[in-house]
Symmetry: C2
Subunit: 511 residues, 2 copies
Amino acid sequence: MRSVLAIVFLSLVPSAAVFGADAAAVQGAVRSWIRAHERDVLREFADVLAIPNLASDGPNIRRNAEHIAAMLARRGIATRLLDGEGGPPVVYGERAVPGARRTVVIYAHYDGQPVDPAKWTSPPWKPVLRDGPLEAGGREVALDAAPTGPEWRIYGRSAGDDKAPIVALAAAIDALQAAGIAPTVNLKLFLEGEEEAGSPHLQAVLEKNKERLRADAWLLCDGPVHQTRRPQVFFGARGVTDVEITLYGPARALHSGHYGNWAPNPAVALAHLVAGLRDTDGRIQIAHFYDDVRPLTPAEREALASVPDVDAELRRELALAVTEAGGARLAERILLPALNLRGLESGAVGERAANAIPTEARASIDFRLVPDQTPARVRERVEAHLRAQGYAITYETPSLDARRAQPKLVRLAWGSGYPPARTDMGSPFARALVAVTGEAAGGPVVRMPTLGGSVPMHLFVETFGVPVVGLPIANHDDNQHAADENLRLQNLWDGTAAFASVLARLGEEWR
Amino acid sequence: MRSVLAIVFLSLVPSAAVFGADAAAVQGAVRSWIRAHERDVLREFADVLAIPNLASDGPNIRRNAEHIAAMLARRGIATRLLDGEGGPPVVYGERAVPGARRTVVIYAHYDGQPVDPAKWTSPPWKPVLRDGPLEAGGREVALDAAPTGPEWRIYGRSAGDDKAPIVALAAAIDALQAAGIAPTVNLKLFLEGEEEAGSPHLQAVLEKNKERLRADAWLLCDGPVHQTRRPQVFFGARGVTDVEITLYGPARALHSGHYGNWAPNPAVALAHLVAGLRDTDGRIQIAHFYDDVRPLTPAEREALASVPDVDAELRRELALAVTEAGGARLAERILLPALNLRGLESGAVGERAANAIPTEARASIDFRLVPDQTPARVRERVEAHLRAQGYAITYETPSLDARRAQPKLVRLAWGSGYPPARTDMGSPFARALVAVTGEAAGGPVVRMPTLGGSVPMHLFVETFGVPVVGLPIANHDDNQHAADENLRLQNLWDGTAAFASVLARLGEEWR
């Protein structure tokens, strides 16, 4: 392994490369390289987006890992697939830099959220380039067209979440190499393949590779930049867990005339159950749910106060007349736990609706957790709430006899989840990162005490005890987790510039 | 037309036919004819079940009408298709009987409920014969197999609701003719093609053909027999109306981490809206909803008291630990209005669930009405209820600007519906019908003040002012309105015997 790395460095960092280039030199070189290579970067992006990437789809998720490993290896990164300990492989890479004092691990994930292809304008794994967002009438253009504006988008599952950082980092390496600018930090790469499935094997992989992954800091590249389109760094992330809830009605669907009003309707019971979990203002009605919420520190309050207010613009963009919690700011709301009803399903609506009492009703919920909540505690409290309402809980599909015996029977299927995390906003690494990303952005970056979304930050904090900070590059309006996911091209270019600054400048500022 | 009918009678009612055969002779002849012709009847049934029969499917619904008209014409019924006045054609037939003093119109419908093919074990319009119900492990047998037991079933959309009476009536005509037994009533047939779509053009068709349809009584052949499998006649039917409810969330699906807790979740709002419409015990929470419910007459109370109690057995069969309204009897419950939640849909559940805030949420509701409720009044009260909760109501898909302007916006799409009806349980026709159907059943029939389901009985009552009574033949466990709809073969044979008794005996008993 060592000898391979050594050979790589010889070819990668020619003796003429500048170590410790200044901010202006780095940005000038990278931005002009990008202008000359936009189509090359997009071609590489489209290739990686074309591979279906559900963590549960074994053969395809492995194809993603192998494809990405080859991308990195072509750039002289010593790359290998780490055993996923039961999950998809982790794409691991490393690149030591002679003279660098610090080592940073960059994390991203190459798997994507489930898709409902019927809702997509173009198939989720057929990358499509458009000359603007779909909502603004963006038209499809050839994949090898030369972009003419910042608002062009590339559509495909994981365009934003989370293949963009992988492609941007690769482009940043190319740009620096072309300019003869040397990195100033040793780089390790850790690209996960089951983040959207809740990272159930991540802890085992980190433990197993603890030595290999030793570093001075982790950089988590996931999530969106600020809604102002200004870059942001985040110092925490909400945890997550989820549950599928099923209620049962009659053993067979019944004519609503002959039995309506007598046979219990499970969809009605579900509506009552769900309405009892939270109000329409987002307030969770489960007893003691907020007991574990840790107060903000003064530094977090100060950072929060400086976060730009984008609520009015977001409401307009999202066609919302009001927001939950009486108009409280988005930046504040994501510091609290959330119960999101991600799906309801029972019987049928519209053209397919029949006058029948459904046999079952299902709800799907995801929870976002903040320090010091844990998935196990959330589960306990939800189950206590349901039991207090008279529900008997089962974790398997109940038999008809069980349904005959239990007046209120609920099936719960909990997903795996993970707790939230927050790290120190004042560490030397954090300050250096804020500085160098600000150089790339040409102005101050937004410092968020926490990301609203979830990344398994807590595992890195707990396993390695080093600073862990988030650096997202995707646009906020990328439809991540939904149909027509996309990346705004200017975010790809800005992300490339940010990674170049991290590689070339972080070692200088990190003192 | 007249001359055609005259020729038909010559061939149909040979001079040797017996007019006024007694009950034993009729039942003996018919039951032995059935035993010899089961496979012929099933073949004819399968042919008519194989034609897709959604009222909205113009070409196919017409194929049904033409196929059924040909079936009747083959039996010497003077048949024609009446213009549907904008809806599917009505299959009309008539057969005058020399010497008959009374004329009865038999009503059934040949259209079926919408289907969700994914939920069916075999395709809805591919008739399949089984040697028992699917729930009891009934195995598929060849369509031309000779049935060996009463529990065999034929599966297909409208097997029970409502093609069975059409096939049974045709078989009864064949059986009587083979036995040389003459009918004792003039027969008219009125077979509708859009009952499951709410019969929006029925009133116009009845008005247009008022003279042609003049008769002494109507017999509505729709719905199921009693759950004891004893025949029943019904003297009323619940009315029906329905509404599709849509609530709106963000203009695009949002990541539940970055926006959960801030962007309103339409599925949560829908759960609260639905929970506010009715409780889990079936009690409708809409103000003044029960104001129009007419009290029962003494005769109706007496009939109700004599209805066999099947609740415990039904609970077991349907795997229900409890029923709504604290265990009140089914027969009583269907005398009240019902609000049935027939569907809920938002986001996705299970494997397809993504951590996103849905853009909209939909509920589909059907209402069952009792005298003196009307669909218009129900609509008024539902809309007043929603407005009282702060909802602005729209009937079209709202623009994004409308969504920006209205904090609580609901889209309603009302289906057409019709009011309930009840008729006199003591009319000579009603008494005669109870008598002759009892002869066919070999025991007393169940007299129901109302059918829980809906048939547009009110239109016949209002248009013609003659007795209108219901005579269903389908089994109660036929999955009507749901997947795997079926007819129990013994119900087909018993229904054939009942129709034979009506044709051959009603004129004698009706005094």
